[in-house]
Structures are given as structure tokens and as C-alpha cells.
């Protein structure tokens, strides 16, 4: 298999990140295609994160948090689940194959499940092939490792970030 998919994972700090830690402590071997971004809670996930990940070259995305009723913050995972339900339809609309995104619950004790989620997602996305649709549409403006437009400028909130600072970031 030549194509190695690139997967970005958004996980909560308390369950899935700790579950992934456990997978490490247990030396569970898994595909090396996943890059984890740690968040306090899946409730923190703005679906624009997922869109951004695809824009920046991810072929697949994993969203994983605490099981229902186990959320460290009581209900953040429910908000995430509800938001994701809506987001799936948006993905369909945007032409992103929903199979590129895995939404799962992995608790702090489920190292094995994390390994399975990683391997299954990698295998599934490998089968789907590279995610090129966005790049074909956006042309050369985004791809090629060039800096992407600042998300704050895009969101119209440029005043919150120092323009000098943003410029200097070596993306």
C-alpha cells in the first residue's frame, strides 16, 4: 500500500487522550498515520477545526471523547455528539465523504479500543484514497505547504490577534 493517509485526531484530555496514553503504556502497536490534537473536552471542538484539518491536507479525521454519561465536564460530549450530527450533513453537502471522519467514544481504560479506532480509520481512509477534492477546488492558493489564510482574518475577527505576530508565524 503506497498511499499513507494523514489523519488528524481531536480528542478530549480526560478520556481519549488518557486512553491513547494507556495504549502507549501497554505498548499496543498501531498505524503511525494519526496526529493527535489535545483539547480539554470534545465540547470544545468547533466543527471548523475539522474543515480546517481537511483544508490543510488531512485525508481523514478522528473525533473522540468520553463515553456518554462519563464526561469529565458532565455534558460536553453530548454537545459534541449533537453538533457532529449536524456537521455530518454539512460534510455531505460539501462533498466530503462522511466515511473520512470517525466519531467514537474511547475511555481512559480503553487503550485497545483506541488502537482499533486508529487502525480501522487508517484502513478505511486508505481505501478511500487521498482527499483531493478541496485542493482541486481551491487550486494552488492553499496547497504546497504555503501559509494558509489566517483563520481569524477569515472569520473577520482579525483584531483579536496581533497582525505582526501572525505574520511571523512560520507556517
Amino acid at each position: 500500500m503506497d498511499f499513507q493517509p494523514r489523519i488528524t485526531a481531536f480528542v478530549c484530555n480526560w478520556c481519549t487522550y488518557t486512553g491513547a496514553d494507556l495504549a502507549g503504556t501497554s505498548r499496543l502497536q498501531m498505524a503511525a498515520n494519526v496526529r493527535i490534537i489535545r483539547l480539554p473536552c470534545t465540547g470544545r471542538i468547533d466543527h471548523m477545526f475539522i474543515v480546517k484539518a481537511f483544508e490543510r491536507g488531512a485525508d481523514g479525521v478522528i473525533v473522540s471523547g468520553c463515553h456518554p454519561a462519563d464526561c469529565h465536564y458532565t455534558a460536553g460530549n453530548y454537545h459534541a455528539r449533537r453538533r457532529f450530527g449536524v456537521f455530518r450533513e454539512l460534510m455531505d453537502f460539501m462533498g466530503i465523504d462522511p466515511r473520512r471522519v470517525t466519531f467514537s467514544w474511547v475511555s481512559a481504560s480503553e487503550g485497545v479500543k483506541w488502537k482499533d479506532v486508529v487502525n480501522e480509520t487508517v484502513a478505511r481512509v486508505a481505501e478511500l484514497g487521498p482527499f483531493d477534492a478541496y485542493h482541486e477546488l481551491a487550486g494552488d492558493t492553499i496547497t504546497g505547504g504555503e501559509p494558509a489564510p489566517d483563520p481569524f482574518e477569515a472569520a473577520g475577527g482579525a483584531e483579536t490577534s496581533d497582525p505582526l505576530e501572525a505574520h511571523e508565524v512560520g507556517r
Binding site: D21, G24, Q29
Partner: protein, 674 residues
Amino acid sequence: MARIGVFVCHCGENIARTVDCARVVEELKSHPGVVHSEDYKYMCSDPGQALVRKAIEENDLTGVVVCACSPHMHEKTFRGAAAKAGLNPFLCEMANIREHCSWIHEDRGEATDKAIDIGRTIIEKVKHNVPLETIRIPVTKRALVIGGGIAGIQAALDIADGGAEVVLVEKESSIGGHMSQLSETFPTLDCSQCILTPRMVEVLQHPRIKLHSYSELESLEGYIGNFKATIRKKARSVDEDLCNGCGDCQAACPSRKIASEFDAGTGKRSAIYVPFPQAVPNIPVLDRVNCTRFKAKRKGIEKDVCGKCQEACLKGAIDYEQEDSFVTEDVGAVVVATGFQLYSIGRDQPAGLKGYGEYGYGDVPDVIDGMQFERLASASGPTGGEILRPSDGKPPKTVVFVQCVGSRDPEKGIPYCSKICCMYTAKHTMLYKNKMHDGKAIVFYMDIRAGGKGYDEFTRRAIEDDGAQYVRGRVSRIYRDGDVVKVWGFDTLSGEQVVVDADMVVLATAMRPQPGIAELAQKLSISYDEHGFINEAHPKLRPVETNTAGIYIAGACQAPRDIPESVAMASATAAKVLGLFSADELEREPTVALVNEQTCIGCFSCEQVCPYGAIEHVDVCDVEGHICGVVARVNPGICQGCGTCVAVCPSKSVELQGFTDEQIYAEINALGSW
């Protein structure tokens, strides 16, 4: 200009075996913004930390990235090291290349590439980190305890003995709770009142405990360390300061046939009454529902009727005009110890529950519940401790005890085990047999659950020494047949139907949370389960905390609990409360949400999703001081930092410090270059 230092740890061989640390150092050295990059065998060791400190000082670093283990492992260590070198600790982050990389991959090339990616992601994040200051919140060293049963009493005494002030609120006119109603306690057969009443008196006499009896919590505002509780002192019709507890009013009251709640309906009381002789405080309360004077008033009779208690009171303490009053108390912590009620098996059932009409409770006078049996067996009860059946006052020769009435019966709406019934039924059979040597005690049970110190020995003693006859099976029907109570049951061990002609039947009914628990939980913004028991923050590791900081739980309000467990929980809450009170200021991680009040549109979507009620409304005024809008503000004392508000904010006006949009997008963008 960012000046980031990167420190790559070998973790002995743990990382270095599969990750080429030298290549990681080289690659990251050339990453924009990185001015220093080095590796070391054990970065967390003293010399390793010294390297970090030295590099910060020598290179004037503005950020530190430690490529090592999980942040759950050593984030604190390295943030501490950064702080020692004068760098704000929140400018230091961990890149997890051990648990998430070297330990889970075998291919050295792949693992090294991934480690470099992880390092880059965190470097990009750190560029957007800002110095954060630990949040310090002043703490009012005073605790509110809600509920004056054994759990509340224990919590109040332990906290007060630890040096803090306590406000104890009890909704009944006396503290003592269910324990004061019990005859004896398992597994020692200690007299319940003998061990409880000295503690009740201790509460009353304690210089640091303020008791509000016949009072309820009206509202609670504020947050950990800084609560303001409003307490409704219900109109007792007796001036608490004037009353000396002589009991003349009670003796003078002509309405004497009211079913006593304390005796679970087996005894009678007057309209103005002290629930039991050892009540604390020993101040009567006038039951306005049953008082002749108030009954007449409700019927529209203008003239004052009765008034015998007022005439009898030499202190002039009776005040018919008294109204509910309110007091506010500033407290820093709250202990909820509201206890339980017994499942009412009669016809009237709350939604979701079904009664046990087939057991004849309420129709057959000689079918009683466990608490009524306690009162019959109690020396302070209506029969003076003689076990006499309610219908004709005769001593019952055959008593049937039915366990699991309600408990473990999803059909009736209660799937959980009430935990105490196996033990108290065994106790009941012993109390009965000890008083009625020739009597016959028959117990219908599903399983005997006697886990606990001395508990199994206790149930065995009931069976083997005291001769209680245990029948494994359920009872289908109980009805009156002339002088006897017929009990139809099934013995699942012999496979035969059993019919017992009993003189009295005692039903071990399920434990349920107190009525009104949902309203109380809403006032406190704590959560409760589908049965109404209050949820603990973590079932194993934080059993006495709630998800609202500063609010703790003890006893049967959390789940069915027996006395030793309730007391243990109460002492645990006291330890938590005293721990909270041990410093003048409470320190909290600054990773909380912050609203940009300039851009907030005041939609309060954040308020709807915040699980902690941390969102406050703030008025925005124009130059002339007129209110021209309302925006949200996050109370940092309450916020726990989940960030759910950030994701729902339509105007992007909330940021979660430590996990800002800028930081996360920087991480995502960094991944774009792999």
C-alpha cells in the same frame, strides 16, 4: 519574536529506541522561531531540568517545548522548572513522543517523522501561548450543612471540631433524622438513640455550629468559597428565643389524635408538639394543618378558637401570627446530607413508580413497613417497646417479613438494591424473637446481601441462633382473612407454593431520595440520576464531591447507604471542606474561559450549554451611564474550563485560555506541512 527552546528526552531507551532523537533535535532546530534545541537521556531528572532552566536563562526563551512523555506525566514537572527560571509556567508545553509515538510504533523512520510532527505542532501552539496567572479566590471559612440526620450531624461536628464555623439546616423541628427513629442498629444491636442523642446535644452546644431547625434552603448563589445561602425559617408559631421547652403547651393541646410522623403513623401526637422527647432543639412546633385554631380560621370563623397552648405558656412564646422569615448566611462550602425516604407502597405513587396494591399496605392494618416495625420495637415508641400488632394490640405469634419490596424490581420502577433491607430485616427478626421467644419469624428473600464488617455473621446469627426461617422466593399476594393475614409466596428452593397464616407482615420497602430533591439539586446546580439520587463527581475517585466545586454530598442522598457508610462519607466531606478552608485563598488553574465583552452580542448561547452555571450577565453602559446592552461574563471561580461555550459562541467572543482558537488552528496548520 518567538524564542522557543526544544528539549528532546530519550527517556533512557524508551523514546530513543524507536525515535532518532538527534534527528528530531536537528529538524526542530531549523523550525521557524526555535532558537535552542537539545536532547538528554532523562530530561525529567534534576540535571535534565537544570538544562531547561539554563537554556531559558541563557537564550531568553519565550516558550519551552519538551518532547518527552504525556503531559499527564510530567507537565507539572517542567512547568515548575520553567517557573524556577523565571518563565511563566503556561509558556511550557509537552510534546508527547513516548506514549503516542515511540511506544506504539516499531519503524524507526516512521516514528521519528511522527515525533518531529508532534514537536512542530506543539511548537506552533506554544508560539500562541500567553502568560497566565493562577486564579486566586478568597474563601469564606464557613460551611453550610443541609440535613440534620446522622450524616449531617457527623459532617457538622467534624467540620466544627476542625475549627471552621458551620450552619446546619434541618427541615424538621428537630435534628436526628431517620436514625433517631430506629430501635436498635445492626450489626451490633446498639440502641440507636443512645448513640445518637449525645451527638445531637453536642451539635446544639457546639460554639461553632449554628442550627436552623424547621428551616429549608431557599436559594444559593455564588461559587466555591463564596456562596450566599438564603434560608427560609418556616413559621413554627413558637418564639425560639422565649421557649424553654417545658412542654406545657403540648400538655394543654386538645387535638391529640394526629398520626405521629416520628412514629411512622403507629402513634399519636398533639397539634403543638415536640416530635420525640430527646428532640434537639427541644422547642415545639405548631402543626397549622391540624391545629383547631387554624382549621377554624380556614373555615372562615372570625372568632379566635382554642388558644389553649398560648394560655398554658408562661413564657408567652406562642405566636400565632408568626410568618416565614429569611436569613442569609455567607458560606464557602456546602455539604448536602438530605438522606432518604421510604418507598411508599400505598396507592399514591409518583410518576414512574407502581405501588404494591397486592400486598395490602394501607388496607390491611397488620401489614406495616420496616420503619413502623422499628417504632413498635422501640422503647420510646407507642407501645413502649412491646411488639403488638396495630389492628387489635395483640402480640403477633407469626410475623412474615418480605424483603425487596420495591428494590430490585424494575417493573415497579426501582431497579436498584436498597442495600440496608437484608440487614435490617435480619435485625427485625432478632428484635422480634428476643421479645417473643415462642414467636415465629419467616423471611421471604431474593438474595441475602450482607457485605460488610460483621454483616454476614449477623444474618447467620438471625437464622442459626435466633431461628428466623428464611424462605427464598417472592410473595405474590397478602390479604386479610378473618383474624389472620394470608401470605401467598413461592419457595424457589423447594419449588413449592407457600401459604402462611401470619399475624403481622413487615415489608422491607425500598429507599428513595427525599421528596423535593430535584428542586434542591437545581438550586445548588448539581446533578442527580434517574432515581433522584445526587450524582457524585466520580463514582470511584471522587465519591463525596459533586460536579459543582465546593458542594459535597454525604449519606443516603447519593445512594442507599447504611449508618457506618453515611458517617464515613460525612467525615470525608468534612476532610474535603477543611482542606478547602486550609488556605486563605483558593488556587485554580487559569485554563478557564474568558469573554471578549467588546464583541459579545449577548445571545447567551454559552449560558445554555455551560454545565456549571458559570456565565453571568453584565450590563453594558454608554458614556452617560445608561444600560445599553447585556453581555456575558465567565465567573472564573466556577468555570472548569471545558470550552463548550467557546464552540457554540456565534460571535467568537469566548476564548478558553490555554486552548484558544489561535492555538488550536496553529496546531492544525502545523500539521498541514507533513
